[in-house]
Symmetry: C2
Subunit: 404 residues, 2 copies
């Protein structure tokens, strides 16, 4: 008789965004005349930039002719894309990363989910709290998190690193020693980030205690301040302790196009075994490459025209972030984020819980955001708004909130 | 100190196709004047059909405009694709499968690799021998296969079901009871298949012993004989015991386009828990959908024009299969397959090992095939040729072999 992976049964109920979806649906059905503004889920709204569109068309045409048709892609991804990544994202930042250390994938969510495969079950993970729910859920699925404690909304075997107003929304080095540390800067959901000196402390700590850092830099393109690292490999010693996850979803609007990559330096080892060799085996056995036409689109992101166009999109979203941040501040709310990230993190007013404020905002302003508690227990009393809407809708949403 | 998943260290050396690649490279460097014909790896060569190309262009244009831009896809895949799949691949075959039982993915290799996530480690798997190496390798990675025995080239905890001339290249019901049974018909690598009555026996057996069948139907489009099932759900009772994996790689040439799907009927349960709910959770947490433009391309496969064009491609490849099969037979070789699948499976002559024959064929005819032993111990003494080359090259390859 076959047996299921019963770790799945330990996962608490439905996913954050499906609950939001249900609440919004119920409200809309009850109030068909109200116009809802959605600043909840982190999905982009601007179309794909023209330079990328024209490359997609070219690549589609290549697939139409036997001479230029492409079948199975190389295991690590096409070299033209990996070389562009290395030049632009690493060499330019002074980071010592090579093209054969890049693994092209269908996105950072898959990589976040799958990277655990190459680690033993009995590793202890540390996560920021609040945090992108996928890190914890995928570790729960593989049996790495112990049991879920309903009263605290924490897993028994996870080290939570609170990121609240008290810690300036940055994690402090944990008192218990973890084996795997998840860091995401600029951060989802708080929109905060840390300086290069602060990140260096984490790299030094990981090297000292023998931990590996899984560094999610999906929002790197939104960094506007000078002293903020764009990649963990700007820090000395990161090649022996860090894996970096990157995405094209938010910088180039690829949420529906699907492309990302993982960097594993060959110096990152457990004894004599490189994590690179393990991930190469995983990648070559359980994955068959991102589509050729999508990899071509990825390379177009790094062209001069592509960069100019996506930077305009990022500027558009970051102007929305400014509208949200300044508008809410002016209305007396306590806000953070929105300077190096497309997320604004606000304290709920009058000690409301995150979900109470969600309901209040939906009911009174017809604005949808994301309850902070959905990202972890320390997110309680906070609320996330995203800058990915249109300028007009964002402006209107803030006006409505101001009037409350 | 972090610990790796040391199951990876138990995996025997390099992957079949990388060894072939190295041998061919060495031969080409030593013999730059020889023209190599590759009938080894199962990659397609015909370009994507015009009806699919024009849909890809349309979908790219949709991504260029804010009105029609698509961000994150629905978790299970777009309904337009899932409905097309259900109508064409299931309802038309009399199989009771619904659109919400289809999970669209980036390909059958990913699904073959990831499906193990929802099962406990202590399930015993049964595989055909020879078999597509991914089934065994991914189970080895998750610790389900015991240890590898060099002398027999078998894993200690896997039930091997020999598929040789003696069994008419079909597996017999195993004497030890497995928990998970991998079946692939039409088969890679042998090109053989089984009748609907024979498959019904497997479904009945699985339901009787409480096993789940993972049924890989990636080559379904190549079936030419009437009594061969196109889906396992043509068999009575399959909804309570079978998961089906499907691919667009070989029917529509999507090896570089990447699209597939997995079917999990809601009647397939362990106690009260549906495997559908577990896979939905896995799919929603560790995957973010196939690209919108690729899902549109998938739907174009099911249009009248798409069907006409891909059927012409399949006919082209199957004519190659005929050329190989009849040519080798005429030359005195013992061959099978090539009637319901694009693979021809031949007995090596003069009791050569599979790799001896590989070297012999490369050296003497400059033709590259795949050693049967690479697919499992019972593949020893066999050799796989694929029908995915051009007609002219296929013809020439067979002429060269005939002359040996």
């Amino acid at each position: 008789m076959f047996k299921i992976n019963d770790n799945y049964l330990k996962l608490p109920g439905s996913y954050l965004f499906s609950t939001i979806g249900k609440k919004v649906k119920a409200f809309t059905e009850a109030n068909p005349d109200k116009s809802i503004i959605r600043l909840g889920i982190g999905d982009v709204t601007l179309p794909i930039a023209p330079a990328i569109i024209s490359t997609l068309h070219e690549a589609v045409d290549e697939m139409a002719s036997a001479d230029t048709f492409k079948g199975y892609a190389p295991d690590l991804g096409y070299e033209f894309l990996r070389e562009a990544i290395v030049d632009f994202d690493y060499k330019r930042r002074g980071a010592d990363i090579h093209a054969d250390e890049i693994f092209v994938s269908d996105g950072a969510k898959s990589d976040s989910g799958n990277i655990g495969d190459i680690f033993a079950v009995d590793n202890r993970i540390a996560v920021c709290d609040p945090v992108y729910p996928v890190y914890v859920d995928v570790n729960a699925m593989s049996g790495r998190t112990g049991h879920y404690i309903e009263s605290t909304q924490k897993w028994s075997n996870v080290i939570y690193m609170p990121c609240t107003a008290e810690t300036n929304f940055a994690p402090e080095l944990p008192t218990e020693i973890p084996d795997i540390i998840y860091l995401c800067f600029p951060n989802n959901p708080t929109g905060s980030t840390i300086t290069k000196d602060e990140l260096q402390k984490w790299v030094d700590y990981a090297n000292k205690v023998g931990a590996v850092i899984i560094y999610d830099a999906a929002y790197e393109a939104y960094i506007s301040e000078d002293n903020v690292p764009h990649t963990i490999y700007e820090c000395e010693g990161a090649r022996t302790c860090a894996i970096e996850l990157r995405s094209f979803s938010k910088n180039a609007g690829f949420t529906g196009v699907r492309l990302g990559f993982t960097v594993i330096p060959k110096d990152l080892k457990s004894g004599d075994v490189t994590l690179h060799s393990l991930w190469a085996r995983r990648h070559g056995t359980k994955f068959n490459g991102a589509p050729y036409i999508i990899q071509r689109a990825g390379a177009a992101v790094y062209t001069q025209a592509g960069q100019k166009q996506i930077n305009e999109q990022i500027a558009y979203y970051m102007n929305n972030a400014k509208v949200i941040r300044e508008g809410l501040s002016a209305a007396g709310y306590t806000v953070s984020g929105g300077i190096n990230a497309p997320y604004i993190w606000m304290k709920t007013p009058d000690k409301m819980t995150s979900w109470e404020f969600f309901d209040y905002l939906l009911d009174r302003a017809n604005v949808v955001g994301t309850p902070g508690s959905g990202f972890g227990p320390s997110g309680e009393g906070y609320f996330r708004l995203t800058a990915f809407g249109s300028y007009e809708k964002t402006l209107e949403a803030i006006e409505r909130i101001k009037k409350l």
